[in-house]
Every structure is written in structure tokens, then in C-alpha cells.
Symmetry: C2
């Protein structure tokens, strides 16, 4: 099962290597990981995506909570959350394919961010399904290069009208 | 100096912890890091942002190239590249501030992805300057939560007309 885990950590040397070591030590592959500073430059937020049994992921989150540099751990599994991923993808574009690349880009509300005589670079944000769908369409045209941010996630707000 | 480094790696247990260890071992803080699978599920691409002297960053990239799981290392510093970051930011929104939040969102071509009686969640993609600018405007209104992907980068295409 896919788990999206958010970890708030103090910015200290080696915290990333310690946390990723917890996963690899248990033979767990990290599908994607993002870490970046928050508004407080002493604190960073990580989003980790992994696949595995609920029991083992629970063990890992327990271990994470024990690390003194870890402030908060949230496993989004089973909760109501929004996840997004950002990709930059360079697609072959010649006289035959250019209009097709542009029309796919339009349909997905993606954005052309760079143009050359032989390629377009496209920026797209979406959930995993949307990203996979556009890549499936670009693949037969020719994907030259791709870079992905991996998944980030945030809890949905409480919809009840408390003020 | 800010360095944006892209590392193509084979997906093996512990590769992330080994690479982040190279940075922390030299007392180098990682400002942001993204790692996600490429079209080839056996290969992942990392984008690492760090600040430090060119000499030390060069030493680190040399060390990275020596790791057998590392396929390719690119330091974008001084080259022509596109960098982007994705954020999800939850901003307080009440009757007094709601229209201001929406107009800022419009100006930055950002997107409201979730609404509650007390908050809007906004999705925005851009370079570091654009992200900082919108956050400066949201801060006085009240930022409840923020999650960032960190920077990803891709080389600009050669603009010369080779076919």
C-alpha cells in the first residue's frame, strides 16, 4: 500500500541521512522524497512516499517519532489530503509533432517553459494519475528528459463551519 | 553561493542516505532535496540545492561521481537552466481577508485547491523569487501551513537550429 508521510524536522546536519537510513535499514524503498525549509529556517518539512505493509510503516513512523530532531510525523494514509507533484519534461518536437505536443499541453493545462528547434520543455503540476496520463501521451512522441519533484501533501481543511 | 545539483542514481537501498551523508559529513546543509523515479523504474533523479564555496561543492560532486550507484552528476551553476518549485500553502481566510487572498492568488496565477470556512489552500509553481514574493504577501494575512517540493531543475535546450 502507498503511504504518504510528512515529517517536520529540525534542520540539523545528518537528519536526512538518518531518516532515509531508517527506511533503507528495513529494506523499504523510498518512492519519492522532498525536503525543503519552512517559513522557520530552523525547521524543514519532508514528504516521503513509500509502499509497504501498514504494520511496517507504523513501526517506521514510531521510530521516526523517537528521533529528537523530529518534531511531528503525519501518515496521510486513510485521511483526507491533497497531493501534488511537479514535473519538467523535455519532449521531442519537430514539424510533424509540434502541434500534437502543444495540444496535449493545453488539454492538461500544462505550460511550455522552453522551446528549441527540436524540443519543448513542459511544466505540469497534478496528482500521480494526471502526471502518468500526460507522460503516456508524450512517450510515443519521444521524452528526452524528465525531472520530478516527487509528491508533496497537505491535509484538507475541516469543512465544518467553526470560526 | 547557491548550487543546484542533479544526480541520476540507480534505485538501491541506502543510496539516498549515502548521498545525503556525503553532504552532512562535510558540514554542508542541504537547502532542499527532491528524489523521484524516472521513466525507468530502476533509476531515480535527485535535485539537491546547497550553499557553499565552489571548491567544496566540486569536491562533493567528485565524491558523488565515485559512488557506483551514481550514473550522472550535473552542477547547474553557471549554466542556462530552468528551476521550479511547487508549494501548497494554507492561508487564513475570513470575511475580511478572503477577497485579498483570492486576488493575490490570481495575480500569481496560483490555484485554490481547497476551501474551508476559515482557510484557503493555494497551489503555486514558480522559481524561488516568485514563491518568496507570494509568501511575503500571505504572511501578514496568516499562513497556517506550508509544504514545498524544493527546487527541481532542467537544462535549457540548445537554441541553435540543428535538426
Amino acid at each position: 500500500m502507498r503511504h504518504v508521510i510528512s515529517v517536520l524536522v529540525e534542520n540539523e546536519f545528518g537528519v536526512l541521512s538518518r531518516i532515509s537510513g531508517l527506511f533503507s535499514g528495513r529494506g523499504f524503498n523510498i518512492e519519492s522524497l522532498c525536503v525543503a525549509e519552512t517559513l522557520d529556517p530552523d525547521v524543514s518539512k519532508m514528504t516521503i512516499v513509500t509502499r509497504g505493509s501498514d504494520e511496517i510503516v507504523e513501526q517506521i513512523t514510531k521510530q521516526l517519532r523517537k528521533l529528537i530532531t523530529v518534531i511531528k510525523v503525519t501518515d496521510f494514509t486513510g485521511t483526507d489530503y491533497i497531493d501534488r507533484e511537479l514535473i519538467l519534461v523535455k519532449v521531442k518536437a519537430n514539424d510533424d509533432t509540434r502541434s500534437e505536443v502543444l495540444s496535449i499541453t493545453d488539454i492538461f493545462r500544462a505550460k511550455v517553459v522552453d522551446v528549441s528547434p527540436t524540443a519543448y520543455t513542459i511544466e505540469l503540476t497534478g496528482d500521480q494519475n494526471k502526471i502518468s496520463a500526460i507522460l503516456e501521451l508524450f512517450k510515443p512522441i519521444g521524452v528526452v528528459e524528465i525531472v520530478s519533484s516527487g509528491t508533496i501533501a497537505i491535509a484538507r481543511s475541516d469543512k465544518s463551519a467553526k470560526k
